[in-house]
Protein backbone atom coordinates (compact mmCIF):
# COMPACT_ATOMS: atom_id res chain seq x y z
CA UNK A 1 0.00 0.00 0.00
CA UNK A 2 1.07 3.58 -0.50
CA UNK A 3 1.48 5.91 2.48
CA UNK A 4 2.51 9.49 2.81
CA UNK A 5 5.50 10.12 5.08
CA UNK A 6 6.63 13.49 6.41
CA UNK A 7 10.20 14.35 7.46
CA UNK A 8 11.05 17.10 9.92
CA UNK A 9 14.13 18.74 11.37
CA UNK A 10 17.33 16.82 10.74
CA UNK A 11 15.28 13.95 9.23
CA UNK A 12 14.29 16.26 6.40
CA UNK A 13 17.94 17.14 5.73
CA UNK A 14 19.04 13.47 5.94
CA UNK A 15 16.28 12.13 3.72
CA UNK A 16 16.51 15.04 1.33
CA UNK A 17 12.74 15.44 1.28
CA UNK A 18 9.99 16.97 3.37
CA UNK A 19 7.45 14.50 2.05
CA UNK A 20 7.62 11.13 0.29
CA UNK A 21 4.97 8.70 -0.93
CA UNK A 22 6.30 5.25 -0.04
CA UNK A 23 5.02 1.84 -1.07
CA UNK A 24 5.05 -0.45 1.96
CA UNK A 25 3.67 -3.92 2.79
CA UNK A 26 0.19 -4.09 4.30
CA UNK A 27 0.07 -4.23 8.12
CA UNK A 28 3.70 -3.12 8.54
CA UNK A 29 4.65 -1.88 12.02
CA UNK A 30 6.41 1.41 12.69
CA UNK A 31 9.47 -0.60 13.79
CA UNK A 32 9.57 -2.42 10.44
CA UNK A 33 8.94 0.87 8.63
CA UNK A 34 11.94 2.37 10.46
CA UNK A 35 14.19 -0.45 9.12
CA UNK A 36 12.75 0.01 5.64
CA UNK A 37 13.54 3.74 5.79
CA UNK A 38 17.17 3.07 6.74
CA UNK A 39 17.47 0.71 3.75
CA UNK A 40 15.85 2.98 1.20
CA UNK A 41 17.24 6.32 2.47
CA UNK A 42 20.90 5.80 3.27
CA UNK A 43 21.08 9.01 5.34
CA UNK A 44 18.42 7.85 7.79
CA UNK A 45 20.33 5.27 9.85
CA UNK A 46 20.48 6.24 13.52
CA UNK A 47 16.84 6.83 14.33
CA UNK A 48 16.64 5.03 17.71
CA UNK A 49 15.88 8.30 19.50
CA UNK A 50 13.45 9.53 16.84
CA UNK A 51 9.70 9.42 17.44
CA UNK A 52 6.96 8.58 14.96
CA UNK A 53 3.47 9.94 14.54
CA UNK A 54 0.51 8.55 12.65
CA UNK A 55 -2.04 11.18 11.66
CA UNK A 56 -0.62 13.80 14.01
CA UNK A 57 -0.47 11.58 17.11
CA UNK A 58 2.58 9.87 18.58
CA UNK A 59 2.66 6.10 17.97
CA UNK A 60 4.95 3.39 19.34
CA UNK A 61 7.18 1.03 17.29
CA UNK A 62 4.52 -1.72 17.50
CA UNK A 63 1.79 0.39 15.86
CA UNK A 64 0.47 -1.23 12.67
CA UNK A 65 0.37 1.25 9.80
CA UNK A 66 -3.01 1.54 8.10
CA UNK A 67 -4.01 2.51 4.58
CA UNK A 68 -4.11 6.32 4.24
CA UNK A 69 -2.08 6.87 7.39
CA UNK A 70 0.20 9.90 7.29
CA UNK A 71 3.39 8.83 9.05
CA UNK A 72 5.70 11.54 10.39
CA UNK A 73 9.36 10.99 11.25
CA UNK A 74 10.18 13.18 14.26
CA UNK A 75 13.76 13.72 15.47
CA UNK A 76 14.21 14.75 19.13
CA UNK A 77 12.29 17.99 19.50
CA UNK A 78 13.95 21.26 20.52
CA UNK A 79 11.21 23.84 20.81
CA UNK A 80 10.81 26.28 23.66
Amino acid sequence: MKIKSLFFGIAKDLSGSAELILDIPVNMTIGEFESLLSERLSGLKDTQNFAFAANESFVERDYHIKENDVIAILPPVSGG
Binding site: L6, F8, G9, I10, D13, N49, A53, E56, S57, F58, A72, L74, P75, P76, V77, S78, G79, G80
Partner: protein
Protein backbone atom coordinates in the same frame (compact mmCIF):
# COMPACT_ATOMS: atom_id res chain seq x y z
CA UNK B 1 -33.05 31.58 31.52
CA UNK B 2 -29.48 32.80 31.48
CA UNK B 3 -27.50 31.89 28.38
CA UNK B 4 -24.59 29.54 29.08
CA UNK B 5 -21.35 31.31 28.21
CA UNK B 6 -18.35 29.05 27.71
CA UNK B 7 -15.38 31.16 28.59
CA UNK B 8 -12.21 30.35 26.65
CA UNK B 9 -9.62 29.07 29.12
CA UNK B 10 -6.91 28.01 26.65
CA UNK B 11 -5.01 30.11 24.11
CA UNK B 12 -2.60 28.20 21.87
CA UNK B 13 -0.74 29.99 19.08
CA UNK B 14 2.09 28.98 16.72
CA UNK B 15 3.02 32.00 14.66
CA UNK B 16 5.61 33.80 12.58
CA UNK B 17 4.59 37.06 14.27
CA UNK B 18 6.53 38.43 17.24
CA UNK B 19 5.09 36.98 20.45
CA UNK B 20 3.36 39.50 22.68
CA UNK B 21 3.84 39.33 26.46
CA UNK B 22 1.03 41.75 27.26
CA UNK B 23 -1.38 39.77 25.06
CA UNK B 24 -0.59 36.57 26.99
CA UNK B 25 -1.07 38.32 30.33
CA UNK B 26 -4.30 39.96 29.18
CA UNK B 27 -5.67 36.59 28.07
CA UNK B 28 -5.02 34.79 31.37
CA UNK B 29 -5.65 37.54 33.93
CA UNK B 30 -8.91 37.08 35.74
CA UNK B 31 -10.75 39.01 38.47
CA UNK B 32 -11.13 35.75 40.43
CA UNK B 33 -7.39 35.08 40.42
CA UNK B 34 -4.74 36.50 42.71
CA UNK B 35 -1.75 35.66 40.57
CA UNK B 36 -0.27 34.95 37.17
CA UNK B 37 2.95 33.02 36.52
CA UNK B 38 4.70 33.52 33.20
CA UNK B 39 7.66 31.86 31.54
CA UNK B 40 9.34 33.63 28.63
CA UNK B 41 11.99 31.85 26.61
CA UNK B 42 14.62 34.09 25.03
CA UNK B 43 17.21 33.29 22.37
CA UNK B 44 20.67 33.05 23.94
CA UNK B 45 23.72 34.54 22.29
CA UNK B 46 25.74 31.34 22.64
CA UNK B 47 25.56 27.56 22.99
CA UNK B 48 28.55 25.58 24.22
CA UNK B 49 30.70 28.70 23.88
CA UNK B 50 29.83 29.20 20.19
CA UNK B 51 28.33 32.52 19.22
CA UNK B 52 24.85 32.14 17.73
CA UNK B 53 23.93 34.28 14.69
CA UNK B 54 20.23 33.44 14.55
CA UNK B 55 17.83 30.54 15.06
CA UNK B 56 15.34 28.93 12.71
CA UNK B 57 12.32 27.21 14.26
CA UNK B 58 10.36 24.75 12.14
CA UNK B 59 7.38 22.68 13.22
CA UNK B 60 5.00 19.90 12.28
CA UNK B 61 2.39 22.60 12.56
CA UNK B 62 -0.91 20.78 12.88
CA UNK B 63 0.52 18.29 15.36
CA UNK B 64 2.45 20.95 17.32
CA UNK B 65 -0.75 22.91 17.88
CA UNK B 66 -2.57 19.73 18.96
CA UNK B 67 0.24 18.83 21.38
CA UNK B 68 0.27 22.34 22.86
CA UNK B 69 -3.48 22.09 23.35
CA UNK B 70 -3.02 18.72 25.08
CA UNK B 71 -0.48 20.25 27.46
CA UNK B 72 -2.87 23.09 28.25
CA UNK B 73 -5.69 20.61 28.91
CA UNK B 74 -3.42 18.46 31.11
CA UNK B 75 -2.42 21.57 33.08
CA UNK B 76 -6.12 22.25 33.69
CA UNK B 77 -6.58 18.67 34.95
CA UNK B 78 -3.44 18.50 37.12
CA UNK B 79 -3.58 21.96 38.71
CA UNK B 80 -6.19 24.41 39.97
CA UNK B 81 -5.79 27.04 37.29
CA UNK B 82 -8.14 29.44 35.55
CA UNK B 83 -6.56 30.13 32.17
CA UNK B 84 -3.42 29.18 30.29
CA UNK B 85 -1.76 30.65 27.20
CA UNK B 86 0.94 28.76 25.27
CA UNK B 87 2.35 30.84 22.42
CA UNK B 88 5.27 29.64 20.30
CA UNK B 89 7.11 31.36 17.47
CA UNK B 90 8.28 29.78 14.20
CA UNK B 91 10.67 30.98 11.53
CA UNK B 92 13.80 33.07 12.02
CA UNK B 93 14.59 34.50 15.46
CA UNK B 94 17.44 36.78 16.47
CA UNK B 95 19.34 36.97 19.78
CA UNK B 96 16.96 38.23 22.48
CA UNK B 97 13.84 37.33 20.49
CA UNK B 98 11.14 35.28 22.20
CA UNK B 99 10.50 31.72 20.99
CA UNK B 100 7.93 30.89 23.67
CA UNK B 101 5.64 32.46 26.26
CA UNK B 102 3.58 30.46 28.74
CA UNK B 103 1.20 32.29 31.06
CA UNK B 104 -1.04 30.75 33.74
CA UNK B 105 -3.55 32.33 36.11
CA UNK B 106 -4.74 30.70 39.31
CA UNK B 107 -6.39 31.66 42.59
CA UNK B 108 -3.28 30.11 44.23
CA UNK B 109 0.18 31.20 43.16
CA UNK B 110 1.71 27.76 43.84
CA UNK B 111 -0.56 26.21 41.22
CA UNK B 112 0.22 28.99 38.77
CA UNK B 113 3.97 28.39 39.15
CA UNK B 114 3.71 24.59 39.02
CA UNK B 115 1.40 24.56 35.99
CA UNK B 116 3.68 27.01 34.19
CA UNK B 117 6.73 24.83 34.86
CA UNK B 118 4.83 21.69 33.88
CA UNK B 119 3.80 23.31 30.59
CA UNK B 120 7.28 24.48 29.56
CA UNK B 121 8.86 21.17 30.63
CA UNK B 122 6.26 19.21 28.62
CA UNK B 123 6.55 21.50 25.62
CA UNK B 124 10.29 20.97 25.46
CA UNK B 125 9.76 17.19 25.60
CA UNK B 126 6.85 16.52 23.31
CA UNK B 127 5.85 19.36 21.00
CA UNK B 128 7.15 18.70 17.45
CA UNK B 129 9.13 21.89 16.95
CA UNK B 130 12.78 21.93 15.92
CA UNK B 131 15.41 24.58 16.38
CA UNK B 132 18.34 25.01 14.01
CA UNK B 133 21.18 27.16 15.34
CA UNK B 134 23.01 29.18 12.74
CA UNK B 135 26.59 30.13 13.61
CA UNK B 136 29.01 32.24 11.63
CA UNK B 137 30.68 29.06 10.39
CA UNK B 138 27.79 26.61 10.04
CA UNK B 139 24.54 25.39 11.48
CA UNK B 140 23.26 22.60 13.68
CA UNK B 141 19.94 21.02 14.61
CA UNK B 142 19.63 21.30 18.39
CA UNK B 143 19.14 17.98 20.28
CA UNK B 144 19.53 15.94 17.09
CA UNK B 145 22.48 14.00 18.52
CA UNK B 146 22.02 13.80 22.28
Amino acid sequence: MKPIIMEKTISVILTEQTLNLQECFDFVKDPGCGGVAIFIGTVRNNTQKKEVKFLDFSAYEAMAVKEMQKIAQQAHVKYTIKKIAIHHAKGLLQIGDIPVIIAVSSPHRKDAFEACQFAIDSLKETVPIWKKEHFFDGEVWVNAHP
